[in-house]
Amino acid sequence: MGNIRVIDVHQSVFAVNDEIAEKTRQRLKKEKTFMVNLMASPGAGKTTTLLRTVNCLNNEFNIGVMEADIDATVDAEKMAEAGVASIQVHTGGECAMNAEMTKEAMDEFNTAQYDILFMENVGNLVCPAETDTGASVNVAILSIPEGDDKPLKYPLMFQVCHAVLINKIDTREYFPFDDKAVVERIHHHNPDAKIFFVSAKTGEGFDEWIEWLSGNVREWNK
């Protein structure tokens, strides 16, 4: 049996990911591409929201979409059918995109050509919040049927978001949902979060969201 000794390491497990993420943000800034990391539960309406958002913005901006899923290509196919430039990324079983996967997808997709790059992350309110992808902003979608208590149950997701879309407001009559409580709960975790009440189905509430988003894109890309 050899000698036993203790080695001081003092290194973060996140260090490698965070370094790549920071380089990605610098690259996005240099290439004048604004990247939105879109996160939500499965079924919150990420793809529908994205399609309507792209429709509202594609006269002014050149837009690309990266669809991240554990498997399948249904989301990228929906984007392609709508005439939106898209790439499907498979995480190989991992529950969220990390900075390295995002960088590889950006290289493959040649993202410098886009003014806005949307990344639809894996549907999940836990893992995507824990990993910095290098995006310019994080946006979460919470839909009315999921309930107004989600910011209590998944605090980190609402801490790391710059904006939250409360989606499916057209379903209000079927589900109890307290607008005031959800705003208070989100702002309790993140006082600076912008909150927009929208319906990706009808387009209600989209004007303010689009105005906020396009203002941020112009600021980033100038």
């Binding site: 049996m1 050899g2 000698n3 036993i4 000794r5 203790v6 080695i7 001081d8 390491v9 003092h10 290194q11 973060s12 497990v13 996140f14 260090a15 490698v16 990911n17 991992e94 529950c95 969220a96 990390n98 836990v126 893992c127 824990e130 990993t131 605090p155 980190l156 801490q159 309790h188 975790h189 993140n190 006082p191």
Partner: protein, 115 residues
């Protein structure tokens, strides 16, 4: 399942450091985990045992030490410890606060056996 990617990162880091130190075996790993990280220590250990198979780190015991959540108010400079993330300053009630500790997940040290 959110412990899997972070355990892979942990395993890579430990193997790199153990190789650099020319270790023949890693006996234990001291990890400092912020109280806001909701990783389950038993699951970290289970994943680690599988992910480290065939490496010098296989068989190492993870010693997880919790780091409390501390926040600082950017308005009045008050520093406070809190059991859960709380962005509201207990002194001035302002909400311009930053988390100082509580989100970290790092390897503090490793105990190795030398050849």
């Amino acid at each position: 399942m959110h412990e899997l990617p972070v355990t892979q990162g942990l395993c890579d880091l430990v193997v790199r450091e153990a190789d650099r130190a020319k270790a023949s075996k890693v006996c234990s790993i001291t990890v400092k985990m912020g109280a806001a990280c909701d990783y389950v220590p038993e699951i970290l250990q289970e994943y680690f045992d599988v992910l480290s198979e065939g490496t010098v780190a296989n068989g190492a015991k993870l010693q997880i030490e919790t780091v409390p959540i501390t926040m600082r108010c950017n308005d009045c400079n008050k520093e406070y410890e809190t059991p859960h993330y709380n962005p509201f300053c207990p002194q001035c009630s302002g909400n311009h606060t930053s988390m100082i500790t509580g989100n970290e997940f790092y390897v503090d040290n490793i105990e190795i056996e030398e050849e």
